[in-house]
C-alpha cells in the first residue's frame, strides 16, 4: 500500500482531467472573493493557495439532497383510490475530491461514527462516502484561526484521506493511504515519488513547527457539562452571537439536517437539507414550546455537542477538526476556542456548587 508518486505542478490539470473521465472531480476554485469546491473545470484556475472558504462537505453531504421521490396516482376507475409510490433516490457514481485540507477531510470521520453506525446506517451518506476518494493537501502554514493541533490533529494529519499531497518544489508528492487512494495513482503522468518523500517529510515538519502550543482539552467533556446549568456563562458567551448558521454550515464536522417535503401537482420530493442548531426553528415544537429557546441555549448545545456529548459517546473524540472557519467567517468573530477554554477554566462562584448539590 505504501505507494508514493510525484506530480509536476504543470501536470495537475491534466491529471485531474484524466480522473474526471471516470469520476466527478471536485477542486477548489475562486468564486468572487471566496474559494469553493466545484466540479473541476480545466478552464478555471485551481485555487489551493490557502484553505477553501467552504470545506468540501457538500461533496459527500450535499447542502440539499433528495431522499425520496413520491408520486401520487389514481385508480382511473375510482378516483378516490389514490395510491402513492415512494422511491429512494440514491446517489450514483464515483467522485474524487482534490485539494481538501487535513481538517476538512477529517471532518468526515466525525460523520462516519454517526452515519455509518451499525444500528442506523445512512445509505445516502454511505453511497457517497464509499465512492468518494480524497486527495488531501497537507498544510504549509497555519492561519491565526487554525487549531487542528488542539483537537488531536495536525497540518498533515491524513485521517479520512485516501491520498496525501504535499507541495514540494515544482510539484506534489502524492502518498497513497488507502486502496482507493492507490487505485487513483496509476496515471502515466505520475512519476515515482520515493525520491521526493524526504522533501515532503521536511515540509510536514516545518508546518508542525509553525504551530504554537496547544492547550490540553482532555478535560473539556466534563468541564463543559459542568457549566451546563450556569446560564450566565452561556449568555455571556452567546451575547454577540447573531444566531445565524454560518458556523454550522462552514463546519466540516457539523452533520445536522432537516427533512422537508415539496410537491408540484401529483409529484413530490422529500428533501434532506443542511440545518443548524443555532436556528431557533431547529428544536421549535409545533406547540410553540422550544427546549432551546435562546441563542445561549443553542450555543450551549453546539459547544456541548462538539466538546462533550460527542466525545462522551465516541471514545473521547472531539467533534471539531480545528479548521477555524467558524471563527474566521463568523460575522461577529465568535471564537469557539475561547468559549471552551473559558468553560475549562470556569470556577463556580462560592456557594454556587453547594446550591447545585442541593
Amino acid at each position: 500500500m505504501e505507494l508514493v508518486k510525484y506530480l509536476k505542478s504543470a501536470d495537475l490539470k491534466s491529471w485531474l482531467q484524466e480522473l474526471a473521465r471516470e469520476n466527478r472531480v471536485f477542486a477548489p476554485r475562486n468564486e468572487g472573493d471566496s474559494v469553493i469546491f466545484a466540479p473541476f473545470d480545466p478552464e478555471q484556475e485551481i485555487a489551493i493557495v490557502h484553505p477553501a472558504t467552504l470545506p468540501p462537505k457538500k461533496t459527500v453531504f450535499p447542502q440539499s439532497e433528495k431522499l425520496v421521490d413520491f408520486t401520487y396516482s389514481k385508480d382511473p376507475e375510482n378516483l378516490s383510490r389514490i395510491m402513492i409510490d415512494g422511491k429512494e433516490v440514491l446517489p450514483e457514481g464515483t467522485a474524487v475530491v482534490f485539494g481538501g485540507r487535513p481538517c476538512d477531510v477529517r471532518g468526515f470521520t466525525m460523520f462516519d461514527r454517526v452515519y455509518l453506525a451499525e444500528k442506523s446506517t445512512d445509505i445516502y451518506y454511505q453511497a457517497r462516502r464509499e465512492n468518494t476518494t480524497f486527495i488531501t493537501l497537507a498544510c504549509e502554514k497555519p492561519e491565526t484561526t487554525c487549531f487542528c493541533h488542539w483537537v488531536d490533529s495536525g497540518p498533515t494529519d491524513a485521517t479520512g484521506s485516501d491520498v496525501l499531497a504535499t507541495v514540494v518544489d515544482g510539484g506534489y508528492v502524492l502518498e497513497a493511504l488507502s486502496d482507493k487512494g492507490s487505485k487513483l495513482l496509476t496515471s502515466t503522468l505520475l512519476e515515482n515519488g520515493e525520491s521526493r518523500k524526504d522533501e515532503a517529510r521536511k515540509a510536514h515538519e516545518k508546518a508542525a513547527e509553525l504551530l504554537q502550543d496547544a492547550p490540553d482539552l482532555s478535560g473539556a467533556p466534563k468541564k463543559v457539562l459542568q457549566v451546563f446549568d450556569t446560564m450566565e456563562f452561556w449568555e455571556e458567551a452567546a451575547a454577540k452571537c447573531l444566531s445565524c448558521g454560518a458556523c454550522a454550515y462552514l463546519c466540516p464536522s457539523c452533520y445536522c439536517f432537516n427533512i422537508t417535503d415539496e410537491t408540484i401537482g401529483m409529484k413530490g420530493t422529500r428533501i434532506r437539507s443542511w440545518d443548524n442548531c443555532m436556528s431557533a426553528q431547529f428544536t421549535m415544537e409545533a406547540s410553540g414550546h422550544n427546549p432551546r429557546p435562546t441563542k445561549a441555549h443553542r450555543l450551549r448545545n453546539r459547544v456541548g455537542h462538539k466538546f462533550s456529548y460527542y466525545p462522551d459517546i465516541h471514545d473521547g473524540v472531539i467533534s471539531c477538526c480545528g479548521c477555524g472557519r467558524c471563527i474566521k467567517s463568523c460575522p461577529v468573530g465568535t471564537d469557539i476556542r475561547e468559549i471552551v477554554l473559558q468553560a475549562i477554566e470556569y470556577e463556580p462562584a462560592v456557594g454556587e456548587e453547594q446550591a447545585d448539590e442541593q
Binding site: 402513492i84 415512494g86 442506523s120 446506517t121 445509505i123 445516502y124 451546563f228 446549568d229 406547540s287
Partner: protein
Amino acid sequence: MNNKNLYLPEMATINEVIEETANIMTFRVILNNPDAMENFSFEPGQVGQLSSFGTGEATFVINSPPTRKEYLQFSVMRAGEVTSKLHSLKPGDQVGVRAPLGNYFPYEDMKGKDILFIGGGIGMAPLRTLLLYMLDNRKDYGKITLLYGARSPVDMAFNYEVSSWLERDDLETHLTIDAEFEGWPHTVGLIPNVLLDIAPSPENCVAVTCGPPIMIKFTLQALEKLGFTDEQIVTTLEKRMKCGVGLCGRCNIGTSYVCMDGPVFTYAQLKELPNEL
C-alpha cells in the same frame, strides 16, 4: 452495517379515523405490503414517524397494543402543519410509516408489580398502549390504577374505551377534569392534587406518567411526596424530531437522543441528563 433505507417509509392506508376530541384524531393504519404488516412487531411505548407526502413527517407513539395486530394506531393532536394535514385525511388515504423507533416501557421489569398510570390529555396515548398490553396480560401484574385527566370532558380522548375501563373490576380508574362541568360525575381537580387525594401506595409500585410539561413537573413532585423513588417513576418524552434515528441532531438532551435512547426514561435517568426539556 445494514442496507435498510432509514428514510423510506412503508406505504400505508388509513383504515379508520376516530375523532377523539376537537383537536385530537386517532388514525388506524394498515401497511400496504401484507408481509410487512404481518411481520411488523413493536413494543409498547415505541414511536413511529407518520407522514403525509408533500407535507412532512411527525412522530407519534404507536398507541395500539402490540398484542392487537390488525392495525397500527396513532393519536394525533393538531398543532402544526403536519398534524393539520393528517387531520384532513380520510379512510383510504395514503400515508407513510417509519416504525417502530426508539425504546419502550420496561414492561418485563414491571411484572408482578402494582402499576399506577397517570395521563394528562394527549399524554394518555402512550399510556394506552401499555395499559391495554397489561390488560391483555392481566395476570402478570398487580393492582393497576389509572388516573386520567383532561381540561374538560370534551377534551378527553378515548372516551369510548374509558367507559369500559370504568366498568372493569381489575382496573381502578379515576377521571378528572380541570374545572367544574355540568353533568360530570367524576372528580374535578388538577391531576397532581387528585393524585395526592388518591394517595396510592408506592409499595412495589411503578408510576407511569405522560402529559404536558407543566403537569409532569407537578406530578413528579406529588409522586415524590407520596414516597415514590426516582427509579419507580417512568415517563415518556416528546421532542421535535426529523430523522427518528439519531442523526439529524435536534432531539438530544446532552448525550441522549430521545428518538433512539428514549422516548421512555425513568425519572432517575432523566435526573442524570442535563436539564434541557
